[in-house]
Subunit: 140 residues, 2 copies
Amino acid sequence: MAQSLVKTLCGVGALAPRLNNYYNNNINDKGQNMKRYGSVIGVRAEKLEEYKKLHAAVWPDVLKMIKECNIVNYSIYYHDGLLFSYFEYVGNDYDADMAKMAADPMTQKWWDVCKPCQRALESRGEGEWWAGAEEVFHTD
Amino acid sequence: MAQSLVKTLCGVGALAPRLNNYYNNNINDKGQNMKRYGSVIGVRAEKLEEYKKLHAAVWPDVLKMIKECNIVNYSIYYHDGLLFSYFEYVGNDYDADMAKMAADPMTQKWWDVCKPCQRALESRGEGEWWAGAEEVFHTD
């Protein structure tokens, strides 16, 4: 189950499945428990404009599901063939929230249009789509 | 002046000098005007551990200057030879704050030890050290 879940996590952003030490625990301004995630993936040159257009107007149901799954302050950046994502997770059960997102039909449809634009990196971990990055510095 | 300032911005993180459309304006939870910046740079394989150690214990004076220059929620991630940074700027004059940081002697010393660990990307913009990345998605 964990493996199949992990392999479906490929959509709007990082949603890195590994719960290891590349995030820090923290408390945000709202008093929520918060964990930061950074991830990276390639984007196909011929699909970059399509990817940008999709992300300039992400489907409302997809944004709603992101919120419901306790992901906030979520950004994706592009540079030179790569996409980098940063988000903050403010829920209490990351695995359960990611499973909920992966089971959402609209999110699945969204991933179906986004995934062909992306190019998963050889350097990603087993079962990852976006490669989870290691936090090496943080200051509030 | 702008060019020489830009060339000195090479330190603890992104501090991307270009004030162009790769950030969004926003208001954060504290009611501050806020702009997000994402940037990327290489790290030399033989210097990665040194870079991590430096950033696990950044000099207090450097952290203090980051705060004074209105940079908050600042993270750096590592994956596969690259460093990605994300921070939020909450001041009213980015250029002036970056000039203040670049003029700080302790920050200059910090950059002197960090810069040899880094490898600036060919794809960076003119005058950049960290390459400014383009924001392609954000949701609060």
